[in-house]
Amino acid sequence: MSETSQLSTTDSVDTPVKIKRKRKRPIGFYIAGSWIALIIFLAFFGWALPTPSWDESFYDSLGVHPFHPSHILGTTLDGYDMFAGLVNGARLSVFVSLVSVTVGGAIGTFIGVTSAYFRGKIDIFVTMAFNVMLSIPNLVLSLALLSVLAYSDENHPATMTRRVGVLMLSLTIVIIPILGRIARGATLQWSSREFVLASKSMGTKNFTIIRKHILPNVAPAILAIGFLAIGSVIIVEGSLAILGIGVPGGASWGSMLANGRGNIAYSPWEVYLPATAIAFTVISCNWFGDYVRLSLDKRESKI
């Protein structure tokens, strides 16, 4: 550590740009970053790990404790391997939250930025639409969408793909106004800055100005809130699973939590482990988002 800081001081004499990149980051940033990296690694390459299969019940070892030689994080009372379940759940949770926040964020940013940049009647309409969407509790909205579009009972079971698809759709709809409003607010602030007018006065077209001047300035705010949104999407996914309308069969963290809920007296790790995974991921996303926001503040203060 001391060696790197020495290096950066000598560098600073010649190239002041470089110190900025080498500034000390808070320890939380590294912890959060490693956790997020681990989860993403598990989501993409978890299938390659030598774990027992996640959807197979081991009848000879029902409800074994964590740190058992053959099941490192134990099994559920029904004999499902916890570690395999968590690794598999990471894939679904990461996939669902990343896709819905990315798609919802992209749509929300596009709507927010263009309406704030051009103002006028469209902007009034968009603001109203966002407010209406935000006034519906997002859990209720997802619940309604899921029970209508992915209705499921014994006679008409909805397929897994359909359930996950509708889940992502409803989460995307929830994300659009949240990030859209952030994008709109940031654009209002940046588009009144003189460099936008300066670029305009050189004959630059509006969409070029948005792409080159507005988006680079709005992006950090969107990213920061986007990370927070990933955290809340994971929580919403868990809540829906507990309510019994999310992803079935222990395929996601929330779903594992929902399945293990009844067994808390006999095998509490069935609840604690997925809950811990959710909590760590959400906290890491929040820390990471905070760090992005902080680095944005530092840059602002230098101007």
């Binding site: 002041p16 740009v17 103002r119 006028g120 800055r193 003189e194 460099f195 007018l197 300066a198 670029s199 305009k200 006065s201 050189m202 004959g203 630059t204 077209k205 070029t208 080159k212 001047h213 680079p216 300035n217 840059r299 602002e300 230098k302 101007i303």
Partner: protein, 324 residues
Amino acid sequence: MSSLLKIDDMSVRFETPRGKLKAVNNVSIELLAGESLGVVGESGSGKTVLSRATMGLLPGTATRTGTITYEGQDISSLPKDEVRELWGTGMAMIFQDPMTALNPVRRIGSQLTESLTVRLGMNKKDAKEKAIELLKRVRIPDPEAMLRKFPYQLSGGMRQRIMIAIAVSCEPKLLFADEPTTALDVTVQAQVLELLTELRKEANMAMILVTHDLGVVAGHTDKIAVMYAGDVVEYAPTRQLFANMKMPYTEALLKSIPRLETPTGSRLPVIEGRLPDPTKDEPGCPFANRCPYVTDKCRAEKPPLTDGGNNHFYRCWFPIGGVK
């Protein structure tokens, strides 16, 4: 020389919650190619609105009337897309505050080459070469290194030079300089003004220099328009104006510049009072309440723009030195 820009009877009104705000009233100005016009007035006199309205850069709440002829073409009735074709390549603008007129998150190089690639269709390599040449023209040392810097690494004077380089990058025929030196140190002010004048002469570029400082325009303009409350109150060739001032307002402006000869500790003369409310329609000369020579006639009737001979126009019933 041919007429480059002709503003005829231009007025600008803003819609505000308190009613219509009169920002610019019936202004007529003509500018020849390569000529330099100074627009002088205190804050709120409409000089910035005048330059932005001429370019067509007003916000949606503003309405503009009158005609603007640029190179023989009436641009005041053109659709926005066609006016934009003129921005950058025909008319360009330098802004008051170089601290906010550059995008904080983009490197100087990318901001400088933006209009070259977007407007002139240059490829990246040519644009970079041209950018280096432009930086040399605005006297920036080590231009290659400058391309990689961010705005926050530069001083105000440097940033204003970058802004000037961006503004002249597409070789405009008319440059609006909206208080280009107000945010700068006095020592840097002179350098920037010198630079503007040199660039103007090299490229035979016309310039409209907007400022509140009569001292700034004195050495760098061919003619001067003094504005007060949205009106042009005095309009004359620079030498003529300084030699033979007609308007009490211009005189008061000049008096409020601090001088070396005045003894230490003496009070700086100021123009008492303030601008009239631009949303109200009051009779009489708008300067009447602040004018040292005010008469009853001034309060009752607004004076017209009078031709005093020698291309000298003024808007006063009782001009200094008397009516010819």
